[in-house]
C-alpha cells in the first residue's frame, strides 16, 4: 500500500519523530534563534530548503555514492545548499540574514539534515525521501513556531513585532536569553512526552 506508507512517512515528522521534541536534533540553533517569531520562521524555511533539496539529491545519488565516502558526499551536498540559502538571504532579506547571524551557515552541521540523509534518504526512493523531508520540515517549523511564539510573547510582549500584551506587562527578559530557551524547550518536550504517554496508555 504505497499511499499509506507515504502518509506515514509524512506524518512521523510531525509527531512521532518530530526533529525537535522527539529526536532532539539540531538543538543548538533551535535554542539560539527562537527569541523572536520572525527568526524562527526564517530559520525554519532555510532549514526546510536545505533539507528538501539535500534529501532529494542524496536519494538520487544513493546508488552512485560509494559507502565509504557517503558522509563526505552528503556534507558537500548539504554545504552547497546552505551556502545558496545564506547568499539568497543576504541578498534579498538583509535584515533577517543579520539577525540570524552565524546560524544560517551553521545549518551545515545541523544534525536534522545529515540525520535524514543518513537514516532515510540514503536508503529510500526519491519520492519517499521527499515526503519524509517535507514531514520533517513541517515538524521542525511547527516546533520553532511554538517555541519562538512563547518566547517572544513572554520575553518582549510582542508577537511578530506587534505588541500583544499591554503596557502593564513587564517583559520577562530571561525568556529571550539562553535560559529562557532551555526552560521553554524543556517544558515543550515534557508536554510532548506527557501526550505520548497518554496516547500509549489508551492503546
Amino acid at each position: 500500500m504505497p499511499n499509506r506508507s507515504f502518509l506515514q512517512d509524512f506524518n512521523k515528522g510531525l509527531w512521532q519523530e518530530n526533529p525537535v521534541s522527539r529526536q532532539l536534533l539540531g538543538m543548538c540553533s533551535t535554542l539560539a534563534i527562537t527569541n523572536a517569531l520572525i527568526n524562527g520562521v526564517a530559520m525554519g524555511l532555510a532549514v526546510s530548503f536545505v533539507l528538501i533539496f539535500s534529501s532529494l539529491l542524496v536519494s538520487l545519488l544513493r546508488k552512485i555514492i560509494p559507502n565509504q565516502v557517503r558522509i563526505a558526499s552528503y556534507i558537500v551536498v548539504i554545504a552547497t545548499f546552505v551556502t545558496m540559502a545564506d547568499r539568497f538571504l543576504a541578498a534579498s532579506f538583509p535584515a533577517i540574514s543579520k539577525s540570524l547571524g552565524p546560524y544560517v551557515p551553521l545549518i551545515v552541521v545541523n544534525c536534522i539534515i545529515l540525520g535524514r540523509a543518513e537514516a532515510f534518504a540514503s536508503k529510500n526512493t526519491v519520492g519517499r525521501s521527499l515526503v519524509d523531508a517535507l514531514g520533517m520540515c513541517l515538524g521542525y517549523i511547527l516546533a520553532l513556531l511554538i517555541l519562538s511564539s512563547i518566547r517572544e510573547i513572554l520575553g518582549s510582549g510582542t508577537w511578530l513585532g506587534y505588541r500583544v500584551l499591554g503596557t502593564w506587562f513587564e517583559p520577562w527578559i530571561i525568556m529571550i536569553l539562553p535560559p529562557g530557551a532551555f526552560i521553554t524547550l524543556g517544558l515543550l518536550i515534557a508536554f510532548a512526552n506527557q501526550i505520548e504517554r497518554k496516547i500509549k496508555l489508551r492503546r
Binding site: N35, L61, I64, I65, P66, Q68, V69, A72, S73, V76, V77, A79, T80, T83, M84, R87, F88, A90, A91, S92, P94, K98, G101, G155, S156, P171, I173, I176, L177
Partner: protein
C-alpha cells in the same frame, strides 16, 4: 571500476558540481549584497547627518571610515564617522554624525551589534538609548550618566545615558564614540581629509 577510483570520481564530480553551482549563485547575488551594504551605510549617514542628500567617503582604514553628508547645494552638513570596536559580546559597529567642525554630535546609529538580547541590545533602540545622544557637545570627551535618567533634558551637554543592567555595552558605545571623534579630529588636523573649499569659507 575499482572502488578507490570510484570514490575519487564520485567525490570529485560532486565537488566540481557544487563548486560551479556556488560560483553561479555568488555571481547572481554578489552585486545585490554589495548594494545592500552600501545602502545600509547611506541610510545611516542620512539618519545621523540630518538633511543629507549625497554622501561621500573621505577616509577609510580598517574598522574606521569618515564620510561627509552634503545637501542638494553641495554644502557640507557634517561628518559621519563609522567605527567598529569591541563590545560586551562581540564587536559593535556604529556610525556617529557630527557637525562640520567635529565638536558637536548630531546623532548616533548602531549598524551592527550582538549584545545580550533584552539588555545590551537596547543600544540599538532609539527610545531607550540613541535619543540620549542627540546634540551633544563633544569638544570634551563625553561621560556616562549613572544611574540612568529618564529624559534627555536631565543630562548635561556632554553627558549621555547608561542602560541600566548593561553598563559594559553603554561604556563600549561611549568609548567607540569618544575614540572615533578623537581620531577624526587628529586626521583632520593632519590634513588626511578636509571639507571641500566651497563650504569651508
Amino acid at each position: 571500476m575499482r572502488l578507490s577510483s570510484r570514490m575519487i570520481v564520485v567525490l570529485t564530480s560532486i565537488g566540481l558540481l557544487s563548486g560551479s553551482l556556488l560560483v553561479s549563485v555568488n555571481f547572481l547575488t554578489r552585486d545585490r549584497i554589495a548594494l545592500n551594504k552600501k545602502q545600509e551605510i547611506e541610510e545611516a549617514i542620512t539618519r545621523v547627518v540630518p538633511g543629507t542628500q549625497a554622501s561621500q567617503k573621505l577616509y577609510e582604514e580598517k574598522e574606521f571610515a569618515v564620510y561627509t553628508g552634503k545637501n542638494d547645494a553641495g554644502d557640507t552638513l557634517g561628518f559621519a564617522i563609522q567605527i567598529t570596536a569591541a563590545g560586551f559580546q562581540d564587536k559593535i559597529s556604529l556610525i556617529v554624525g557630527t557637525n562640520p567642525s567635529l565638536n558637536k554630535i548630531t546623532s548616533l546609529f548602531i549598524l551592527d551589534q550582538k549584545e545580550t538580547p533584552g539588555l545590551g541590545a537596547k543600544i540599538s533602540s532609539y527610545d531607550l538609548f540613541l535619543r540620549f545622544w542627540e546634540d551633544k557637545d563633544c569638544s570634551v570627551p563625553l561621560r556616562l550618566r549613572k544611574p540612568a535618567v529618564q529624559t534627555p533634558e536631565q543630562l548635561s551637554s556632554s553627558e549621555v545615558n547608561t542602560i541600566t543592567g548593561a553598563t559594559v555595552s553603554s561604556e563600549s558605545v561611549l568609548n567607540c564614540v569618544n575614540s572615533s571623534l578623537e581620531k577624526a579630529r587628529k586626521l583632520k588636523a593632519e590634513g588626511k581629509f578636509r571639507i571641500e573649499e566651497k563650504s569651508a569659507e
